[in-house]
């Protein structure tokens, strides 16, 4: 019987090896290993054997079963992996074809730079404030130490509106609104749209964006202002920047400065961008004038501060090398889709 079992197993193994596909092999499995298969038939005959024969025959039977199952599994895995492989090989996809459907739109470059700078300031503890675009003469001028007869009013060509109001010529009115709202000590910025009555050409706009910044605390010095501006500009330009202060006149600060940065094109050696001076004028700043602190309800004997104005439109133009300011409010998607 043992010999028969072995002969059967050996024949079955050959048939498994010869099977061309899973179906053929399955037929062998059912025939040999199935519940009514030939091996099961041998199992039924076992009862007729003597005890010692039974042990040997049982071993032979189990051995045959195990080796057939193993052969079967191996072959089955081979078939499956061949099938999978065949599927994969048939599934070439051209991934260079653009996907159907929408491509995301773009944020306006002014929004992008504003967000970037806002988060830089926020990380330094500054509150972000908003102010109205239509302002009172008081907030735009008087509270900023620019009385009605002051020639400084000529520096900013103003759009006047019916009803005695005006379009803010700078974001500085938010200084006074901010001081009133927050009280000292405070750190705030106010980005927004401002207006100047100027003819429009590639480098001048009547509508542009500024960012006002202010810090009020006890004992704020020019040295603090310098440190802060240097840190800020290094953050904005993502590189170490060299800055210098020189006198500048703005009625709402005393002393007032023009802040220049070392020309990034020539590194200070002189080039057409910096008109050979090595420096590029970037922003006005200064220590807050005591009259402005008073207008904001803050006692200048107790608190001082610095303030600055950053031209966001100018920054956008610098960053993206835009040579015509009019693109920014053109609404032209050929331009805007680039950002």
């Amino acid at each position: 019987m043992i010999a028969e079992i072995e002969a059967l197993a050996s024949a079955a193994l050959s048939r498994i090896a010869a099977a061309a596909n899973l179906d053929e092999m399955e037929a062998v499995r059912v025939e040999v290993l199935g519940r009514k298969g030939t091996l099961a038939e041998f199992g039924k005959l076992m009862g007729k054997l003597s005890a010692s024969e039974r042990v040997d025959a049982g071993k032979a039977l189990n051995g045959a079963k195990t080796s057939l199952e193993a052969a079967f599994d191996i072959k089955k895995t081979a078939f499956e992996s061949a099938a999978l492989n065949e599927r994969l090989q048939s599934e070439w996809l051209d991934l260079t074809i653009p996907p159907p459907g929408l491509t995301p739109g773009s944020l306006h470059p002014l929004t992008q730079i504003q967000n970037e700078i806002e988060s830089l300031f926020f990380s330094m503890g500054f509150t972000i404030l908003d102010g109205p675009e239509v302002e009172t003469e008081f907030h735009n001028f008087d509270a900023l130490n620019i009385p009605a007869d002051h020639p400084a009013r000529d520096m900013q060509d103003t759009f006047w509106l019916e009803g005695g109001h005006l379009l803010r010529t700078h974001t500085s009115p938010v200084q006074v609104r901010g001081m009133m709202r927050l009280g000292p000590p405070l750190r705030m910025i106010a980005p927004g749209r401002v207006f100047r009555n100027e003819e429009v050409d590639p480098s001048h706009e009547h509508t542009f964006y500024q960012l006002e910044g202010m810090m009020v605390d006890r004992d704020v010095s020019i040295a603090n202002l310098l440190y802060f501006m240097k840190t800020l500009l290094s953050g904005i330009f993502k590189r170490d920047t060299t800055v210098r202060l020189r006198p500048g006149f703005f009625p709402f600060v005393e002393p007032g400065f023009e802040l220049d940065i070392e020309c990034m094109v020539c590194g200070g050696a002189g080039c057409p961008v910096c008109k050979q001076s090595g420096w590029v004028e970037l922003l006005p700043c200064g220590l807050v004038h005591p009259n402005v602190l008073r207008a904001g309800g803050i006692d200048p004997a107790e608190f001082g501060g610095f303030a600055f104005g950053l031209g966001l439109t100018r920054l956008v133009m610098m960053r993206y090398l835009i040579d015509d300011i009019r693109w920014l409010q053109s609404g032209d998607l050929r331009f805007l889709k680039q950002f």
């Binding site: 929408l102 908003d130 207006f195 603090n224 006149f249 002393p255 998607l333």
Partner: protein, 754 residues
């Protein structure tokens, strides 16, 4: 304001840096220089020369001139000047040999204009005596950076700065001992000493009126002033040097006393520039018994001006109130060299200095001139000079560095402040407007030591998280969502034209008007962002067949009092050149539902003329209308232009509120579908509202599934209701009851189940 390097070097002893370095130092310590330009560049190498012969060149307007030059021997030049003739003494400039009109022309003969003397370029200069001028360098200072410095509108003031920066002695061009002495000869009455704090006048006789000497013309030309004649040029010199504006009257044309008074309404004056000005009672004038002879601080009158026959002159050196001058000059739109200086608040102490300096210069330009008596000097009570308490420690704290007390005092004294203990007295020319508080002195010290000497120091700031600007965060979320859905962000102007307002049928009166618009098509403030959207559609459809854009900006609405209302809005647009337009509107709905899932679109039969009559809907959220969705009427935009316009104040307010989690239901829900047959064009929203109204709390959800329009126009609308009980499984009876309630409501509304 232009500064002559030569002039400055006469006022700063031993000036040993060149013009470029002067420009740099002034920029760093005083005011912004815009650069250095040469003046009279041709004088380098120029020399006198005599024309020996001048022969016409055939077929040319030039002549061939042989000249004997003082420095280069005999030269042949081509010259186009009509006055080039044999025997003429003129100026030769070596420029090398050039072919001109067929001859080798070696150098040139120069005109007064080319030599920087005046504007005369009608011919070459004719010398009566040899002159040699030197090329000057002109430093141009940005006027804006001089707004607060009345003293820097003249060379003497800038020289003082330079002397202080370089620590060199300053040379005062004025010798007060030259001030004429004797009884005043000019009768002056000042009616308002607040508007005219000082009026000084000096009479001169035996005047010869003629051309100014070349050196004077050259100097004035260098700083951009034109030579008028010897007397007037002296007044311009005083203005450019001291910087005291002055005026010279023909004394024999002034009748009676000089009166400084307010003009009478409608009084007229013919000014020196040939224009007639009509005056108001706010204008201050100089008058004689015949009427106005000058607009105070702005311009003189023609009637009393200097002419060739003038023999006696009155030199006026006065001081006028800055605000009044500014007001008159801006009302008359007449900005003169005088008004620009007066409106910066000039120093009243300067008037007699100008007369002393004027008397000196008159003698140089009009030999034989004599002063008659001494100056008339009418003035308001002298104001004491301001004294500022300066706390030296405080100064150092403001600067953020230590400047030794002795250095502080040295700087202040070089700038003509006087220091006693901690009391600092301001010089008169800085006291009119510029310096009044200790903070002003921080600037004086800071700029003079140089801001470059201050090392950055980190401010000691408390570490506190700043309050969050929720509105900005909200707007940025809207932006992010819009861009994800393919919308590009645009910025449009706040100004619109009357035609734009009319195009959307908005009354002109609803807008705030700009009183001084840049152009007539930018005269109104937008009350809606739709104008910008219309323009964006129009502009971009020329380049794109399909596009999407959005803007977040402010509508500006009139209010009866106070500041106008600025309402942030979002306008989004989808354009399709072709197609039925449905997809554009759907995209905008999707955008809106993303912003506020609970929003509703309610059809409206009150479409605006610019809207597609059957494609407009109101956007509602929590029982408030927050915006509108529509397609532009094809007469407004060709193609399919869909727009969403949302009030962001309302959206922010209504969509705020914390989200509260609902526990996940433990018992299964059941669903049933209802297909309802309606009349044509009944919106699904109407049917859904009926179903919702009929539903009890057992209904969790009613979803639109599909619609279908029958050939006769009737609609079949299918909805799926999900019903459930949070406590247990619903019985079939309960489910049926809910369904029956809905069916009953449908029937009650006159519709049928399909």
């Amino acid at each position: 304001m232009k500064f002559s390097y030569q002039w400055l070097s006469e006022l700063v002893e031993d000036l040993d840096i060149d013009a470029k370095e002067v420009s740099r130092r002034i920029t760093l310590h005083t005011a912004e220089s815009e650069g250095v330009e040469p003046h009279g560049a041709l004088w380098a190498g120029a020399c006198p020369a005599t024309v020996l012969s001048a022969e016409p060149i055939p077929n040319s307007h030039n002549v061939k001139a042989e000249v004997e030059t003082a420095a280069y021997g005999r030269k042949t030049v081509a010259c186009g000047a009509p006055n080039c003739r044999s025997g003429l003494r003129t100026v030769y400039v070596p420029l090398g040999v050039k072919k001109v009109s067929g001859i080798d022309s070696d150098g040139m003969l120069a005109s007064m204009a080319e030599l920087g003397i005046n504007a005369d370029h009608d011919g070459i200069i004719e010398l009566t005596e040899d002159i040699a001028l030197e090329t000057d360098s002109i430093i141009e200072i940005d006027n804006k950076s001089l707004t607060h410095r009345p003293d820097l509108w003249g060379h003497y003031g800038m020289a003082r700065e330079l002397a202080a920066i370089l620590n060199k002695p300053l040379v005062d061009p004025v010798s007060l001992e030259l001030l004429p002495q004797g009884p005043p000869q000019v009768e002056v009455i000042v009616e308002d000493l607040a508007l005219c704090p000082r009026f000084s006048a000096q009479l001169f006789e035996n005047v010869t009126v003629g051309d100014a000497p070349v050196w004077l013309q050259y100097r004035l030309r260098a700083i951009g002033l034109n030579s008028i004649g010897n007397i007037v040029d002296v007044t311009n010199w005083l203005l450019a040097e001291l910087p005291q504006p002055t005026h010279a009257y023909d004394a024999d044309k002034v009748q009676g006393a000089i009166v400084v008074r307010k003009a009478k309404a409608g009084e007229k004056i013919l000014a020196l520039n040939g224009e007639e000005y009509s005056l108001t009672i706010d204008d201050l004038i100089i008058a004689d018994s015949s009427g106005p002879i000058g607009i105070a601080g702005v311009i003189g009158g023609k009637g009393s001006s200097i002419g060739p026959e003038t023999k006696r002159i009155i030199l006026e050196a006065a001081n006028f109130n800055a605000a009044a001058v500014r007001k008159t000059s801006s009302r008359l739109k007449l900005r003169t060299d005088a008004s620009m200086r007066f409106e910066k608040a000039q120093d009243p102490e300067n008037t007699l200095r100008a007369i002393a300096r004027g008397a000196e210069l008159f003698e140089l330009v009009s030999p034989g001139i004599r002063s008659l008596g001494g100056p008339t000097d009418v003035r308001a009570a002298v104001k004491p000079l301001p004294v500022i308490d300066l706390d030296f420690d405080w100064l150092n704290r403001k600067l953020g560095r230590v400047v030794e007390k002795s250095e502080v005092i040295g700087i202040l004294e070089r700038l003509s402040f006087t220091v006693q203990g901690n009391k600092v007295t301001v010089p008169s020319w800085r006291a009119t407007k510029d310096v009044s508080i200790a903070d002003d002195l921080v600037e004086e010290i800071g700029r003079m030591v140089g801001y470059a000497t201050i090392a950055p120091i980190a401010p000691a700031m408390p570490v506190v998280p700043p309050p969050v600007n929720e509105e900005r965060l909200f707007f940025n979320r809207l932006r992010a969502s819009a861009t994800q859905q393919g919308f590009d962000e645009v910025y449009n102007y706040s100004f619109i034209s009357e035609a734009q307002a009319a195009k959307l049928g908005i009354s002109l009166e609803a807008h705030i008007r700009v009183l001084n618009p840049i152009a007539s098509d930018q005269s109104l403030m937008r009350t809606t962002l739709l104008h910008g959207a219309l323009k964006n559609f129009e502009d971009n459809r020329r380049h794109f067949g399909t596009f999407r854009f959005f803007e977040i900006g402010k509508e500006i609405h009139k209010k009866s009092k106070g500041l106008p209302e600025e309402v942030p809005h979002l306008v989004a647009g989808v354009y399709n050149g072709h197609g039925d337009g449905a997809e554009g509107l759907r995209e905008l709905e999707r955008l809106m539902r993303g912003y506020a899932p609970a929003c509703e679109f309610r059809p409206t039969d009150t479409a605006h003329p610019f809207e597609h009559p059957l494609r407009s809907a109101e956007v509602w959220l929590a029982a408030e209308q927050i915006g509108r969705l529509f397609e532009f009427h094809p007469n407004w935009v060709e193609g399919r232009a869909a727009v969403l316009d949302i009030d962001l104040d309302k959206l922010a307010r209504l969509s705020a509120g914390a989200i509260r989690y609902q526990p996940i239901r433990r018992f299964p829900a059941s669903e049933f579908d209802l297909s309802i047959l309606t009349e044509p064009r009944v919106p699904a929203g109407t049917v859904e509202a009926i179903l919702r109204a009929a539903a009890t709390t057992a209904t969790e959800k009613i979803e639109f599934i599909r619609d279908f329009t029958l050939p006769d126009g009737h609609r079949s609308l299918s909805f799926r209701a999900t019903v459930a009980n949070r406590e247990r499984t619903m019985t079939q009876e309960e489910i049926n009851a809910e369904r029956e309630r809905m069916i009953a409501a449908i029937s009650a509304a006159g519709m049928k189940l399909r």
